[in-house]
């Protein structure tokens, strides 16, 4: 602490500075090295996916070299797959599709989960009972099998795959949202809003949801990662959009040749691993930043 000169101390104090809850979270997050590393990896992957295809212009669908060429033995540094397509071009172009499916499915997961959980938690009673039975129904269905059925019934397009992933993975978000709503709806500031004439819609979306948001943001971030893994799983089983190149589809395509040319599955696998890892680091960092007390207790 530095001493304040007497002449300055007598002047009026500067107007206080507002510290928003969001700003506090960012300050905590910035101090977390692994979370920041995750954020940089994620931003790099997104940047490569966005501008990479216009810098590295090899067509990922075209046969450019001998099939199953190992890495480093041609101008195509990561080698080629069983159709002689450039793996590096595949990785650069596949990122867009993979991340898009991940984000879209996660958005769907959050939309369904938050809506169901908010209604159940806010209204309680019969509404809660009904919605929770529906949630349990979706929980007991085998996820992968159910998603496969949906994709097979409606066709393996990007939209259908994302929707299938969203439909099978919203249940835990719904439960978390419900628990948060049950907790927050009893707070005095909710009663205070009611006493100044706020209606149910305002209470749900403008008062309770923003206060329930922190854990939901973490779950939303992490669910992008699990959606990417889910998409890879579906692709591995052959359920991928034939018109779109994704990392999962590259693994699925090269699966039969895994013993002769491991690089065909290794590189897209590494790309998925790195992306999901980065998302997890960011998600955990957010969790720590949002709940600093939780961390101190450990």
């Amino acid at each position: 602490m530095t001493l304040v000169e007497p002449s300055r101390a007598r002047t009026a104090p500067p107007p206080p500075k507002a510290v928003s809850p969001g700003r506090q979270v960012w300050q905590m997050f910035r101090r977390n090295h692994s979370a920041m590393a995750g954020l940089f990896i994620l931003l790099a992957i997104i940047l490569i996916s966005l501008v990479g295809p216009s810098l590295y212009t090899v067509n990922p669908r075209e046969m450019v070299w001998m099939p199953l060429t190992p890495p480093g033995q041609s101008e195509y540094v990561l080698g080629t797959d069983y159709l002689g397509r450039d793996l590096l071009a595949g990785l650069i172009n596949g990122g867009r599709v993979t991340i898009t499916i991940g984000v879209f499915a996660a958005v769907l997961t959050v939309l369904i989960g938050v809506t169901v959980g908010a209604m159940a938690g806010f209204f309680g009673g019969r509404v809660d009972n009904l919605l929770m039975r529906v949630t349990e129904f979706f929980q007991v269905l085998p996820n992968l099998l159910f998603a496969m059925v949906v994709v097979m019934l409606f066709g393996p397009t990007l939209v259908n795959i994302s929707v299938a992933i969203g439909i099978v993975s919203w249940t835990s978000t719904a439960r978390l949202t419900r628990a948060e709503f049950l907790r927050i709806r009893e707070m005095d500031y909710v009663k205070a809003e009611r006493s100044i004439g706020a209606g149910n819609a305002r209470l749900i979306w403008k008062v309770i949801l923003p206060n329930a948001a922190p854990p939901l943001i973490v779950v939303a971030a992490l669910s992008i990662g699990s959606a990417i893994l889910f998409e890879a799983g579906l692709s591995f089983l052959g359920l991928s959009d034939p018109n779109a190149m994704s990392w999962g589809r590259m693994i699925g395509d090269n699966r039969p040749y895994i013993l002769d040319s491991s690089w065909g599955v290794t590189f897209p696998g590494l790309a998925i691993f790195l992306t999901v890892l980065a998302i997890s680091l960011v998600g955990d960092g957010l969790n720590d930043a949002i709940n600093p007390k939780l961390r101190q207790r450990q």
């Binding site: 507002a18 500031y189 009663k191 809003e193 006493s195 100044i196 004439g197």
Partner: protein, 333 residues
Amino acid sequence: MTALSVRDLKVHFPAGKGKVVHAVDGVSFDIPEGTAFGLVGESGSGKTTAALACARLVEATAGEVRLGETDITTLAGDAMRRARRDIQVVFQDPYASLNPRERVGAIVRRPLDLMKVGTPAEREARVDELFATVGLRPDQKALFPHQFSGGQRQRIGIARALATHPKLIVCDEPVSALDVAIQAQILNLLARLKAEMGLSYLFISHDLAVVQHLCDRIAVMYLGQIVETGSRREIFTSPMHPYTMALISAVPSPETGLAGVERIRLQGDPPSPIAPPPGCRFAGRCTFATDHCSKVAPVLTATGGNHAVACHRAQDAEVAAARNALVQGAPSG
């Protein structure tokens, strides 16, 4: 004029398996305009539930709550929203009653926004005025609740309650979560606002000393019912009900910090509000109780002035002797 008139208010909650919690069981009182009415009682006496029912934050099972001329227990939709302008609440815990994700200026402006009072510029000016009224600086409007102390937060809660020019403010233990030094500040602020604006208060507390400071009339609740009601002076100088006497004997004297007289210590806990006893609900803990007390429920009976008590033995010599012993040393209203 009567600001609030409550008649035979009942609030019952289902407790599962067909059982019912009789949280508030037939409570009636009137609050004249410009006065403060104190509702005291221990935890579980139903005082907070009664207060929340008056602000329609809890639904009444039966009875009337008249705010001016209208019974607000039957209002719906827009009519209820309009009525809420006239009755506002200051909550107990200033750490829980302000939305942590909103700037305090927005919190205080919210009632005006929701009730569409004036233009946005007028609302902003009103917020500045309210901040000044409760002793905060308008330049603190942009801050978030976590940047304030408990006492400051309670001032913000009061500013929010004042925003729509209400006739009546329900204060639900507004100082019990604060330090003693801060309690006095907030009580003085409430007293000043009452004098300046002609506000009426329904003031809930478990602390008679706090009620004594602010309230013109006092009702003592026990297990969902009012057992004694009267002016501050009547309650403190001639308590009629043995339960009121026990409460007054527990008020610390300002000189010693100890109870001014020998404390009347109550044994045991209040009976369950799920199955209240048939006779006087206080009989099980009352030193003066007779067989008659535990069989027949006493009704609230006027004893002169505004004073009324629900006790079979209030006029008996034994109780009067205890009252005299208590009043000798107790602080007077």
